[in-house]
Amino acid sequence: MSGLGIWNYLIIIFLMMTGLYMVISSSNLVKKLIGLNVFQTSVFFMYISFGYITGGAGPLFNENVELYSNPLPHVLILTAIVVGVATTAVGLALAIRIKESFGTIEEDDLHKMDSSL
Amino acid sequence: MDILQILSAVLLGLGAILGVVGAIGILRFPDFYTRMHASGITDTLCTGFFIGGLMLQFGMTLASVKLLLIFMFMLFTCPTATHALAKAARHGKLKPWTRADADAGLSNEGRVS
């Protein structure tokens, strides 16, 4: 395992954990969604790092290239990004509804308002 | 290393220096309006040098035309974005820093009147 690989994976885990921390600990719903997105991108990095080959070219066909990076993770992540934004939009819409119904998007206040939550 | 490579390296180097200088300006200047001028450097000439150097790298291909397109696009949008931002700041009553304030020992950075 080269040093670069460890650095890549360490940062990926770090980002994943910051995302998780944001989702758990911040009380603002929009910020929770940002945390969710950070978590999501860390997974994207992980996939793309797995697909990378040192010295390989990007997966665009070219006669004089022998070694390509793996196109499969790229395909999975490409669609995942768009789907991620679509689901984020649903989450934001939910936040707007919550604001309109309860008057706040802070989780603590919501808990205080409705003890059954 | 032929002459085009050297020229390209010179252009890229100048662009790099301008970029770093602009960034230093953004850190050094006292308030938002003056920082805007510093970021103007990196938007104009720095971009121009980089694009020029890259065009020499790519040679006479379609890629060079695309680079020119990027340059023209940025020439249109960068001042527009800067102006929009400045107008928003003016609209938001952000008070500009003046020499008099500094002389009076006031640091009114970020104060909204």
């Binding site: - | 300006g25 003056t34 805007m36 107008k87 500009p96 820093w97």
Partner: protein, 159 residues
């Protein structure tokens, strides 16, 4: 109509520059795309003399060359200011009257002022423009109205 023709020409040029392929399929797709975009742009009502100044092509090129020279000069000045240990800055907001009548002229002027580091257009209102200048030197340039005189005169004649 004239503006639409100009738009079609520039769109076709853009497609050709971007694509670079001469396969019949891609060229026909390109034609369809250009026509579709022109249709949507017409529906959006964004094609007019404000956005497509066809009437000043040659003068605009000369103006651009002049502008480029100005940009280089003021960039060098800015670099010296930033790197000097005690920056010579004396920012102020000045208001100058422009000779431009048309909106396009004002826009070209405003963006030129912003493009040269050291001055930023803050507001364009009526025929007054408000400029934030970094120091006396750059403020003088704007007050003397060097750009104002150089902006192609034909912009005003047309509208």
């Amino acid at each position: 109509m004239k503006h639409m023709t100009g738009l079609l020409f520039f769109l076709a040029l853009l497609w050709w520059v971007l694509s670079g392929y001469t396969k019949p399929l891609l060229i026909s797709l390109g034609i369809v795309s250009v026509l579709f975009v022109a249709f949507v742009a017409h529906r959006m009502d964004v094609v007019d003399e404000e956005s497509h100044p066809l009437h000043l092509s040659l003068k605009l090129i000369r103006y651009w060359l002049y502008l480029l020279g100005q940009i280089v000069i003021s960039n060098v000045k800015m670099v010296l200011i930033i790197l000097s240990p005690r920056p010579d800055i004396n920012p102020r907001i000045i208001t100058v009257r422009t000779a431009q009548r048309s909106e396009l002229g004002k826009v070209v002027l405003g963006n030129s002022v912003t493009l040269t580091p050291g001055t930023v257009t803050l507001q364009v209102e009526g025929d007054m423009i408000e400029v934030h200048a970094l120091n006396d030197d750059s403020a003088k340039d704007v007050e003397q109205g060097t750009f104002d005189q150089r902006v192609p005169a034909s912009i005003e004649e047309k509208s």
